[in-house]
């Protein structure tokens, strides 16, 4: 069953396949809908992230394609996003999944999925560098793009660039 065929089957109170499967195995999640390519989006609480990720990994989602983050709104929540793919040999349309973890701005602590998917090493460091989301259990969480002693989280919506001489307009 390809994701696109699911959309047209049942439109009333429909939850995604993987969302249902996780709920059957008592892993709480919230179904947020499909994105424009038909990929399921799940909202997962930070305390359930590790158990859900382990379950998905054993189900077959062996590839964390992208771990990113975004700022929902100024004063709102920070979101840690995980795009998973179920890679296999000679796959036609591999299953994809998107997990979102919403955390508050004042205490943005999310468990690190490094121990399940190694690619989260650098990607979580980048999310930490840009948004200040702290990944507990990450082996070496420090800034990766900004200078080591930079203060502030640049991509947050309420970030104000410091008025260094080098950053002032050339005119």
């Amino acid at each position: 069953m390809t994701p696109s065929s699911i959309i047209y089957q049942d439109k009333i109170n429909y939850q995604g396949r993987i969302s249902n499967w996780l709920k059957k195995n008592s892993l709480p999640n919230e179904f947020l809908g499909f994105d424009h390519q038909g990929v399921e989006i799940l909202k997962i609480q930070p305390q359930d992230l590790l158990s859900t990720s382990l379950a998905l990994h054993s189900y077959g989602f062996n590839y964390l394609r992208c771990q990113s983050a975004y700022d929902d709104s100024p004063g709102g929540q920070l979101v840690s996003v995980y795009h998973l793919v179920r890679l296999s040999d000679n796959a036609d349309e591999p299953e994809e999944l998107c997990m979102k973890v919403f955390v508050s701005r004042v205490k943005p602590i999310v468990p690190s999925v490094y121990w399940i998917w190694k690619t989260a090493d650098f990607q979580e460091r980048e999310s930490y560098d840009m948004y200040g989301i702290i990944y507990e259990g990450h082996p070496c969480l420090k800034r990766i793009l900004m200078p080591e002693d930079w203060v502030g989280w640049p991509l947050r919506k309420d970030y104000i660039t410091p008025n260094f001489y080098e950053l002032q307009s050339a005119y």
Partner: protein
């Protein structure tokens, strides 16, 4: 007429204060005419030496093999056979100690700025800088919103030639090199030590302390990579860097 090429102005002011300043003809060694005679001496006696010295330097400007981002691709295409810059005498050098031209090819960010300044300071005199591309002139496409891009490399280094373009074509880079050569051709041997490297920039005593190396080479062999902290019954807070404030 004795030509005075000495730079010791103090000696000549003794004579000029005794005379009226608008009667320069009777003053043998006034301050004004010292400059004239210096130029005269350069153009009469030292012309050939000056020209030879300048020609030797401009026809073998050795650029540092330096590039940060997209402009370096254009600069690197000059190394090939199509847009050859060896025909202008430019041989790329990997070490700043052997280079006398720094073409800042690419965006400079706050993280890269100390490195560029260090490279420039390691180059021996006489050295020249071509600011290549829009990013190094005024910040370019990053000048509106970037939180980390330097708005122009002339905030760090003295620039001789500004080369606009995003990125400038290799022919445009050659054009900038030719302009620099024309600038070098007008230089004076006598002014060589006028701007000494020492005390050239305002310096302040810093209160920085020595810290350990940030990248000691053992990233993959860190202890924290062996086992997750949860399994070792360590408190999870150990993974949070100690200098992070949770607002």
């Amino acid at each position: 007429m004795v030509l005075n090429t000495s730079n010791d102005i103090g000696l000549f002011t003794e004579f000029s204060t005794d005379e009226l300043s608008n009667d320069n003809s009777s003053v043998l060694n006034s301050v004004n005419s010292t400059e004239v005679t210096q130029h005269l001496s350069n153009s009469i006696i030292l012309t050939t030496v000056n020209d030879l010295h300048n020609w030797a330097r401009l026809s073998s400007l050795w650029p540092l093999l330096y590039g940060t981002s997209c402009c370096f691709i254009e600069f690197a295409s000059l190394l090939g056979s199509r847009f050859d810059f060896d025909r202008f005498g430019l041989v790329p050098r990997s070490s700043p100690r052997q280079a006398d031209l720094l073409i800042t090819a690419g965006t400079i960010t706050m993280k890269m700025a100390p490195a560029v300044v260090r490279l420039y300071e390691q180059m021996p005199d006489p050295k020249y800088v071509i600011a290549m591309g829009a990013c190094t002139i005024t910040g370019g496409m990053f000048s509106t919103d970037s939180y980390t891009t330097l708005r122009g490399v002339d905030k760090l280094l003295p620039v001789d030639v500004y080369l606009p373009g995003c990125p400038p074509k290799p022919e445009a880079i050659i054009d900038a090199v030719i302009k620099l050569r024309k600038k070098v051709a007008q230089e004076n041997l006598a002014d060589r030590n006028q701007f000494a490297p020492i005390h050239r920039y305002h310096t302040v005593e810093h209160k920085m302390t020595m810290v350990n190396k940030i990248h000691p080479g053992s990233y993959m062999q860190l202890e924290s990579r062996k086992l997750p902290a949860i399994l070792e019954n360590k408190k999870n807070k150990a993974a949070i860097p100690s200098d992070v404030k949770i607002f």
